[in-house]
């Protein structure tokens, strides 16, 4: 029944885990996503974690918890975390919590906002 909540990839050469989050990130989906991402991080011990937000249509504060939690885990593993391509809505939530001061946010695509 569940749709794909995310796609993941591990690049051995660069020692990077990339996660593409999809659809709606709320408390229900965050619990599932967290479990699977952590499994992957603890197996691979990557140097870098990239969280791609381009395909996220909805996110509430549970998404903040999910991102902060992965950031802390990566810190414990001695790695870095990067957020990619949050839309305007998600940026608004991230900045309410001051996340842009803690986690690096980059844009790799052309303007992708739908108005």
């Amino acid at each position: 029944m569940e749709k794909d909540l995310f796609l993941s990839d591990y690049n051995e050469e660069t020692n990077t885990v990339s996660i593409i989050l999809c659809g709606e990130i709320d408390h229900h989906s965050a619990v599932i996503i967290r479990r699977e991402i952590d499994n992957m991080l603890l197996h691979t011990h990557p140097k870098n974690l990239i969280i791609e937000l381009y395909s996220v249509d909805f996110m509430d504060s549970s998404g903040l918890g999910l991102i902060m939690g992965r950031f802390s885990l990566m810190q414990k593993l001695g790695g870095t975390t990067i957020l990619r391509n949050p839309n305007e809505r998600i940026k608004k939530i991230l900045s309410l919590a001051g996340m842009e001061r803690i986690i690096k946010i980059e844009r790799t695509t052309e303007k992708n906002e739908k108005k």
Partner: protein, 151 residues
């Protein structure tokens, strides 16, 4: 203070506090509110605020049980959406403290303590009534911006 505004339409729903209901709850409230012709952004604000309140009832009000969550939505004269989210759960000891940004009683389950802050910044008014052992009621008011009402 002011006389209460005329009710144009209203809806009530209730459902058990299963996390799988979070997306349905915010979608239903958004679909109903769409009658008042909100902008995409206003609708996204409503969706997110409702999601916060419903999640709080699920994770905080009924932490180890399944209880009922009640939502009422009113479309008021002047394009005001009034949403009430109510539970009969644990209640909040210190509401003022709970409303502070980053305050959470469950950091271990990766809560960021931003729920009330999100509700407050995505709506025009938020009020919280709570009684320990009795439950919590959150009322959100969203005034839709100047715009011609769709027929």
């Amino acid at each position: 203070m002011k006389k209460s505004k005329k009710i144009i339409n209203s809806m009530k729903i209730s459902f058990p506090s299963l996390s799988v209901n979070e997306s349905a709850a915010r979608a239903v409230v958004a679909a109903f509110s769409a009658q008042a012709d909100p902008t995409t952004n206003e609708l996204a604000d409503i969706k997110c605020a409702v999601s916060e309140a419903v999640t709080n009832s699920i994770v905080h009000a009924y932490p180890d049980t399944i209880g009922e969550i009640y939502i009422s939505v009113l479309i008021l004269e002047g394009r005001i959406i009034k949403i009430q989210i109510k539970d009969k759960g644990k209640g909040i000891e210190d509401v003022a403290k709970a409303r502070e940004p980053l305050y959470t009683t469950s950091p271990e389950s990766e809560r960021s303590g931003m729920g009330f802050t999100v509700m407050e910044s995505f709506t025009d008014k938020m009020s919280v009534r709570s009684k320990v052992g009795k439950g919590t009621t959150v009322v959100l008011l969203k005034a839709l911006g100047e715009r011609k009402m769709a027929e």
